[in-house]
C-alpha cells in the first residue's frame, strides 16, 4: 500500500460521515469492529450495506479489524461507563495495539468527534494521533475540496434535523402506517403494493402506481392506479415501492390528455380529462429508492425572494419527477451556476419538501462536460477509469513484449489458423471486432459454417477485479459523442478484438450443412485459435458480393500482393461471401416457411437497444451483407441458447421477449385505420404481414411511423434465468424463436460473458469433465439479470438523453426566424386536445406543437397558408383536430398530414433544454436544397454531433489562445512541433463519433 498513514475512524465518524470515507482518495482506512457494530445496530441496513461494500471493494484498501475478538484489544466495559465512552476507548486501545503491531513504523490517525477523547488520548501514545475529523481533513486533505464541502453540508443538515425535531409545526402530510399494518393490509387485499411512477409532464399532479408482485394477481385491477396531487402521494418519490389505498369510486379522476409544459403549475386545467380511472392515496412506503440527484440552485434573485431563511434553499432537481429538495448550505451563491449532486436525508411529515444535503459539484450549467456528467449521474452510471489493481490482471501486449499464443492453449484448442478462411465484416473503423465468420466445403461435399466470437472469458477470470468491474458496468455505454467501455481497451480493442492477420483466441460454433438443402447436420461448440484473414467493412463486402472488384483498392490486405495471388485470394473471398449470403438466405427462408416471420425493422430496433429513436428506422434499405451477418449471429445465439438450456435447465441465461398486450396496439390500429390500412395484431406473423402491407407509396414516412408505434406498444426484451419460469415463457416474440440468448458480443455486454462461461461449462459437462464451481445459481443469476436489464435501460436512457442534448445544442445558437435549417417538414402522428405531436424525419425529432397558446388563442392559416394566432376554439376528433376562429375560418389537421414546423430551443435553467416546435404552415415544406434531403439522416446525426463538439472545443481553444498568445506565436514561427489548431481539430474528429448503429445482429 502506498499510504503515508492509516486512518482509524471513531464509531461516530463512521455513523455520520461514511459518505466522506467513501471518497476514493481516502485510502488505508481501518474500520474497527466496534465502529462497524455501532453502524449495524444504530443505523439501518442501507448504511451498513454501504459500509460492507466499501470494505469489500478491493480498490479501496480498506480493512476491518475485529478488535473485540483480539485478546489484547478487547476491553471490558467498566461499571457506570456509557456505551459511547466504551466504544471510543476500545477503538483507541485497538489503534494503539495496531500501531505497535506494525512495529511503530506506520503512523496512525484516529479521527473522532469526541472532544474529551481528543483531550484525553491526544498525546498519550507517540505515533497515534487523535484528532477531530474536520482537523484531519484540513491537515491531510486540504486540496480535496469536495470532501470539505460534503463535511459542511452533512454537519449542517444534521443540525437542521436536530432543530426541526424540537419544533413541532403543523403536519403537512399524514403519517405513514407501520410496517405490520401495511403487510397485513396487502395480504388481506385492503391495500395494494406497487412502484410509483411520476408523470414527467405533470409532475406536480399526476403519478401512477404500477402494480407489483402478488397484489396484481388477485385484484381485478388491470390498469395502473392514479395518485392525484402531492398530498395523496404522501412523501413518496418516483421509483419508491409504495402501498396504496384505493379511494371510493366517486372520487376517481381521469388522466389528462392535454399537452402541457411542466414549469407552469396549471392547477386549473382540469378541463379535459379522460374517463375516471382507479385513484388512490399512498399510505406507506415499503422501500425507498432514493439515489443521487442532480439539482440546480436558484438564481440570485430567487434566493432573496425566498426570504428570511436564506440558509435553507430549495433546489430544483434536473429530473422533473423529483420534488424540490431543501438544502441547508452557505455556499448557495457560489454554487449558482453549477450542476450539483445532492442526496435526500429525510422527509418529515411536517415538511412540504424533503431535506437533503449537498454532495459534490458536477460542472457548469450548459457546459457540455457538465451536462454529460449530469446525464451519467441521473442514470446512476459511474465510469471511473480502471484501477491499477484491475489493470494488473490484464495481459501485456507491447512492442517489446508482444502477446503470444501459449503452447498449453495451443494444445487445448482447435487450431483453425491454417484450415479455415476466417474474416470479419464490421462498420468502417470498428475497433472492437467481436465476431468473425467462416465457410468452407468439407471432404464429403457438405458445407461448414462457422461463427467465431472473441474469447473474452479466457482473459477475464470469474470474480477477478476486472470481472467484478465489468459486472457492475454490465454494458458498454454509448453516448452521442463518446463511449465508456465495459472492459479496458487492452482487451476490447486489442487482445479480444479479432483483428486481421493476428492470432486470437475464439469461441466457435460450427455447423455442418447439407450441400444442397443447407439442412443442419451437426453442430460443434468449442474453443479455437483463429487468424482473421480480412477485416472487411460492410460497403466493401457488399461491393464484392455485387461483383464489383474495384473495391479491393480499399482493402489493405490486398495491397502488398502480386497480381496472381491477389486474383486467387480474391476469388476465394468472393466465393465465401457469396456462399454465406446464400446460406443466410436459406436459413431465413426456412424460418419463413415454418411460419416464423421476423418483424424486420422493428426487431432491429429492439435489438439495437435504441428503440424509440427513429434514426435507425430512417436508414435506407440495409445492405444485404448486414442481414447476412445478422442472420448468422441470430443463428449462433439461438443454438447456444439451446445448448446451455439443455445442459443447465435451471441456471441458464436467456433473452426473452414477451408477447405484447393487445390493448397497447389500440393506438396503432386507430392510426392505421385513418390511413385506410388494417393492422392485424393477433400474432407476430400477422402483425409483420399487415405492417408490410401498410405502405403508402406517396409517403414512406407513414410506414416508418406505424412500425415505430408497433415497437413502442411492445415490451422490451429482457434477460431471464431459466430457473425462474416455465419453458414456454422464454419465447422470443420479435425473432419468433423458442430460445434466444446473447452470445456474440462479449466485449460490450456482460450477459454474453455469462453465456460464454455457461457454454464452456456445458462443453466440459459433455466431456464428463469436472465443472468449475463458478456458475451462478438460479437466485444469483436472477439478481444479475435484474441488474443487467437495469443497466441496459440506463444505457438507453443516457444515449437518448445525450442525443437530445446535442440536438438542442445544435439548434440553440441558430436564430429560428432567419436560419433556413430550423424550418422543416413534419408529420403529425398523434392528436391531443390542445395540440398535435409531430415527427420530423429529417432530424429524427419528435415533439409537441400547440394549436392553442397560453393566451387561449388558436392557430389558423390564411389563404397563403401562413399561420397566425387568433381567438377561437379547438375541437378534437378521433383522428383529426379542428381549430375554428371566431372569424369563421377553420383549419383541420389529420393524422399523418405533413406540415411545416419551425424548430427552436426552449432553454431551461434547472432542466435539460427541450426542442420546441411551432407549426408555421399547414402545407408540406418544400426543401430548396434537394441534395440535403437525400442524405442519410444517420449521417446528419453524427454530423450534428461533430459540429457541436467542434464548436465547444473551439470555444475552449479560444480561451486557451488568449492565455497563451505568446507561446502560440512562437509556434507559428517555428511551425514544426507542437499542436496546431488544425491538428487538434483533426484529432477531435477522430476521437468523436463512433457510429452507434453498427450493432448488427445481436
Amino acid at each position: 500500500m502506498d499510504v503515508t498513514h492509516y486512518v482509524i475512524p471513531d464509531w461516530k465518524v463512521v455513523q455520520d460521515y461514511l459518505e466522506i470515507l467513501e471518497f476514493p482518495e481516502l485510502k488505508g482506512i481501518i474500520f474497527m469492529q466496534t465502529a462497524c457494530q455501532a453502524v449495524q445496530h444504530q443505523r439501518g441496513w442501507r448504511q451498513y450495506n454501504k459500509l460492507r461494500s466499501l470494505l469489500k471493494d478491493a480498490r479501496r484498501d480498506c480493512i476491518l479489524f475485529a478488535n473485540e475478538f483480539q485478546q489484547h484489544c478487547y476491553l471490558l466495559r467498566e461499571r457506570g461507563e456509557s456505551m459511547e465512552k466504551w466504544q471510543t476507548r476500545s477503538i483507541y486501545n485497538a489503534a494503539v495495539w495496531y500501531y505497535h503491531h506494525c512495529q511503530d513504523r506506520m503512523p496512525i490517525v484516529m479521527v473522532t468527534e469526541d472532544e474529551e477523547a481528543i483531550q484525553q488520548y491526544g498525546s498519550e501514545t507517540e505515533g497515534v494521533f487523535v484528532i477531530s475529523f474536520k482537523n484531519y481533513l484540513d491537515n491531510f486533505w486540504p486540496d480535496l475540496k469536495a470532501a470539505h464541502e460534503l463535511w459542511d453540508s452533512i454537519l449542517q443538515s444534521r443540525r437542521e434535523r436536530e432543530n426541526e425535531s424540537q419544533e413541532s409545526g403543523g403536519k403537512e402530510y399524514p403519517e405513514h402506517l407501520p410496517l405490520e399494518v401495511l403487510e397485513a393490509g396487502i395480504k388481506s387485499g385492503r391495500y395494494i403494493q406497487g412502484i410509483l411512477n411520476v408523470n414527467k409532464h405533470r409532475a406536480q399532479m399526476e403519478a401512477f402506481v404500477r402494480l407489483q408482485g402478488a397484489s396484481s394477481k388477485d385484484s381485478d385491477l388491470v390498469s395502473d392506479i392514479l395518485i392525484h396531487g402531492m398530498k395523496a402521494r404522501n412523501r413518496s418519490i418516483h421509483g419508491d415501492v409504495v402501498v396504496v389505498e384505493l379511494l371510493p369510486k366517486d372520487e376517481w379522476k381521469g388522466r389528462t390528455a392535454a399537452l402541457c409544459e411542466n414549469d407552469n403549475e396549471d392547477k386549473a386545467s382540469g378541463e379535459s380529462s379522460s374517463e375516471p380511472m382507479p385513484t388512490g392515496r399512498v399510505v406507506g412506503i415499503l422501500q425507498k429508492n432514493w439515489r443521487d440527484y442532480v439539482v440546480t440552485f436558484p438564481a440570485k434573485e430567487e434566493v432573496q425572494s425566498q426570504g428570511k431563511n436564506a440558509q435553507k434553499i430549495l433546489v430544483t432537481p434536473w429530473d422533473y419527477r423529483i420534488p424540490k429538495i431543501r438544502i441547508s448550505t452557505q455556499q448557495a451563491e457560489a454554487l449558482q451556476d453549477f450542476r450539483v449532486v445532492v442526496r435526500i436525508d429525510s422527509w418529515e411529515s411536517t415538511s412540504v419538501y424533503p431535506n437533503g444535503h449537498f454532495v459534490r459539484v458536477l460542472g457548469r450549467i450548459r457546459d457540455l462536460e457538465g451536462e454529460i456528467a449530469t446525464i451519467l449521474v441521473e442514470n446512476s452510471i459511474s465510469v471511473v477509469p480502471f484501477s491499477e489493481a484491475q489493470m494488473c490482471e490484464m495481459p501485456v501486449n507491447t512492442p517489446e513484449n508482444p502477446w503470444k499464443v501459449s503452447p498449453e492453449e495451443e494444445r487445448e484448442r482447435k487450431d483453425l489458423r491454417r484450415t479455415h478462411l476466417v474474416f470479419s465484416i464490421d462498420p468502417k473503423g470498428c475497433e472492437d471486432v467481436d465476431d468473425t465468420l467462416s465457410v468452407r466445403t468439407l471432404n464429403n461435399g457438405n458445407l461448414e459454417l462457422g461463427v467465431h466470437i472473441a474469447d473474452v472469458t479466457h482473459f477475464v477470470a470469474p470474480n477477478s477485479y476486472i470481472d467484478i468491474e465489468a459486472r457492475t458496468r454490465a454494458t458498454t455505454y454509448y453516448l452521442a459523442d463518446r463511449r465508456y467501455d465495459m472492459l479496458p481497451s487492452i482487451l476490447s480493442a486489442d487482445l479480444c478484438s479479432l483483428l486481421g492477420g493476428v492470432d486470437r483466441y475464439a469461441v466457435s460454433v460450427m455447423w455442418e450443412l447439407d450441400k444442397i438443402t443447407y439442412e443442419i447436420k451437426k453442430v460443434w461448440y468449442g474453443r479455437t485459435i483463429i487468424r482473421s484473414a480480412y477485416q472487411l467493412f460492410y460497403e466493401a463486402a457488399q461491393e464484392l458480393l455485387d461483383g464489383n472488384v474495384s473495391i479491393i483498392e480499399d482493402i489493405p490486405e490486398f495491397k502488398d500482393l502480386d497480381e496472381k495471388s491477389r486474383q486467387a485470394k480474391l476469388e476465394e473471398l468472393v466465393w465465401a461471401i457469396g456462399k454465406l449470403t446464400d446460406i443466410a438466405r436459406h436459413i431465413r427462408a426456412k424460418r419463413d416457411r415454418c411460419g416464423a416471420l421476423e418483424l424486420e425493422g422493428v426487431e432491429i430496433h429492439v435489438q439495437l437497444d435504441e428503440k424509440k429513436n427513429i434514426h435507425d428506422l430512417i436508414s435506407k434499405q440495409p445492405l444485404e451483407v448486414h442481414e447476412m451477418v445478422a442472420e448468422c449471429m441470430i443463428l449462433a445465439n439461438h443454438w447456444v441458447a439451446k445448448k446451455i438450456w439443455e445442459s443447465f435447465p435451471h441456471q441458464a441465461l436467456l433473452r426473452q421477449h414477451p408477447p405484447p398486450h393487445q390493448e397497447f396496439f389500440l393506438e396503432l390500429r386507430e392510426c392505421a385505420k385513418a390511413k385506410g390500412f388494417s393492422i392485424d395484431t393477433r400474432s407476430n406473423k400477422t402483425l409483420a404481414d399487415s405492417l408490410g402491407n401498410a405502405h403508402d407509396p406517396s409517403d414512406p414516412v407513414v410506414n416508418r411511423l406505424l412500425r415505430s408505434m408497433a415497437t413502442q406498444a411492445m415490451s422490451n426484451a429482457l434477460y431471464v434465468s431459466t430457473g425462474s419460469g416455465a419453458e414456454a415463457e422464454f419465447y422470443h416474440y420479435g425473432l419468433a424463436l423458442d430460445k434466444y440468448t446473447h452470445f456474440t458480443s462479449p466485449i460490450r455486454r456482460y450477459s454474453d460473458i455469462v453465456v460464454h462461461r455457461l457454454l464452456m461449462a456445458a462443453i466440459s459437462k459433455d466431456k464428463k469433465m469436472e465443472i468449475e464451481e463458478n456458475l451462478f445459481s438460479n437466485k444469483d443469476l436472477e439478481e444479475l439479470c435484474r441488474h443487467i436489464n437495469n443497466r441496459n435501460r440506463a444505457a438507453q436512457h443516457s444515449q437518448k438523453q445525450s442525443t437530445e442534448l446535442f440536438q438542442c445544442m445544435y439548434f440553440k445558437d441558430r436564430d429560428p426566424e432567419t436560419e433556413e435549417r430550423c424550418i422543416s417538414d413534419g408529420v403529425i402522428y398523434s392528436i391531443r386536445t390542445n395540440g398535435v405531436l409531430v415527427f420530423i424525419p429529417r432530424f429524427g425529432i419528435k415533439g409537441a406543437a400547440y394549436l392553442k397558446n397560453k393566451d387561449g388563442l388558436v392557430l389558423s392559416c390564411g389563404p397563403d397558408s401562413r399561420s397566425e394566432w387568433k381567438p377561437g376554439s379547438l375541437q378534437r376528433f378521433q383522428n383529426k383536430i379542428t381549430s375554428a376562429t371566431t372569424g369563421g375560418d377553420s383549419l383541420t389537421f389529420h393524422l399523418f398530414d405533413h406540415v411545416t414546423v419551425r424548430i427552436s430551443v426552449q432553454t431551461s435553467r434547472c432542466h435539460s433544454d427541450t426542442i420546441r416546435l411551432e407549426i408555421i404552415s399547414n402545407k408540406p415544406y418544400m426543401i430548396p436544397n434537394t441534395e440535403l434531403s437525400h442524405q442519410s439522416p444517420l449521417l446528419l446525426k453524427s454530423e450534428l454531433v461533430k459540429e457541436v463538439t467542434k464548436s465547444v472545443e473551439e470555444a475552449q481553444l479560444a480561451q486557451d489562445v488568449k492565455v497563451n498568445t505568446i507561446q502560440e506565436e512562437y509556434q507559428e514561427y517555428c511551425q514544426t512541433k507542437g499542436r496546431s489548431l488544425y491538428m487538434l481539430l483533426e484529432e477531435i474528429r477522430d476521437l468523436a463519433l463512433l457510429d452507434v448503429s453498427n450493432d448488427h445482429g445481436t
Binding site: 453502524v39 449495524q40 445496530h41 444504530q42 443505523r43 439501518g44 441496513w45 451498513y48 460492507r52 470494505l55 469489500k56 476491518l64 475485529a66 473485540e68 475478538f69
Partner: protein, 245 residues
C-alpha cells in the same frame, strides 16, 4: 437497526470464532468421591456434570436383566437455572426422555457391554448451564465419567454439533446460532475407528451440503478427542502421583 449476521464478511462468527473453531473446553474427572465415576465439563458457557455407577447387579425388576450383556441406563436432567428463563422441568418430560434414550444408544455402542452380562451401568447427566450443544457436552462428560469408573470401552465417544449458514458449515454451535433456526446436526464419533455412534438432525438440508456439514462435525469431534485425551492423561498422572507409584 440492522440485524445480526451469524457469519460476517470477514468469516467471523458472532462470538469471534472461525467457522470450524471449537469453544474453549475445560474438563475434570473424579469430581465426586462417592460415585464410581464422575466428570465435569465446560464447553464455552455450556456446563455439564456426569456421574456413573456400575457395573452392578440389576436393581428393581430382575426381568430387565439381559443374559448376554450389561444394561446401560441413562438419565438426563437439566437444572432449573440452566437457561435464560427459569423453568421447572419435571422429571421424565419428553425432552429429557429423548435425550436419555439418545445417550443410551450412544453408549451402548461404545461400552463393551458383553463383558458384564446380567448387570447394569447407570449414567446420570445433569446440565448446569445450557448455551448450545447440550447433547455434545453430555456425551463428552459421560465419556470421561465412564473412563473414570474404569468401565471398558471400545474407544472414546466424542460428540460435537454443526450447523449450516450462508453456504458454510459451522462447528460447535452456540445458543445464539442454534436459535437462528438453521439446520443443526449432532454427531457422536468413535475417533480411532471413525465409526459413528449417533447422528441426528431434524431439519431440512440439501443433500449436496450434508457431506460438508458432516465433515465439519467429524473434524470438530476429533479435536474434542485430542482435548479429552489430554484431560484423561493428566488425571491419570495426578492419580498415580497420589498413589505414590
Amino acid at each position: 437497526m440492522a440485524g445480526l449476521d451469524l457469519l460476517s464478511d470477514q468469516g467471523y462468527r458472532v462470538d469471534g470464532r472461525r467457522a470450524g473453531e471449537l469453544r474453549k473446553i475445560q474438563a475434570r474427572m473424579g469430581v465426586f468421591a462417592q460415585a464410581d465415576g464422575s466428570a465435569y465439563i465446560e464447553q464455552g458457557n455450556t456446563k455439564a456434570l456426569a456421574v456413573v455407577y456400575g457395573p452392578h447387579e440389576i436393581r428393581g425388576s430382575r426381568a430387565r436383566a439381559l443374559p448376554d450383556r450389561a444394561l446401560v441406563n441413562c438419565q438426563y436432567s437439566s437444572a432449573t437455572f440452566s437457561t435464560g428463563e427459569r423453568k421447572r422441568r419435571p422429571h421424565g418430560d419428553r425432552k429429557s426422555c429423548e435425550m436419555g434414550l439418545q445417550l443410551r444408544q450412544t453408549f451402548e455402542a461404545a461400552i463393551l457391554t458383553q463383558l458384564h452380562p446380567r448387570s447394569q451401568i447407570d449414567i446420570y447427566v445433569q446440565v448446569l448451564q445450557a448455551d448450545g450443544g447440550t447433547y455434545a457436552a453430555c456425551v463428552n462428560a459421560a465419556t470421561l465419567a465412564v473412563l473414570d469408573a474404569g468401565i471398558p470401552m471400545r474407544d472414546f465417544v466424542c460428540a460435537c454439533s454443526a450447523g449450516f449458514v450462508d453456504g458454510t458449515a459451522l462447528a460447535d454451535l452456540s445458543h445464539v446460532e442454534e436459535a437462528a433456526g438453521g439446520p443443526q446436526l449432532a454427531l457422536a464419533l468413535l475417533p480411532a475407528s471413525g465409526q459413528i455412534a449417533l447422528l441426528e438432525m431434524d431439519a431440512r438440508l440439501h443433500e449436496d451440503h450434508l457431506e460438508r456439514v458432516l465433515e465439519a462435525a467429524a473434524r470438530a469431534a476429533r479435536d474434542v478427542h485430542t482435548l479429552l485425551d489430554h484431560v484423561v492423561r493428566q488425571h491419570v498422572c495426578e492419580a498415580s502421583l497420589l498413589l505414590g507409584d
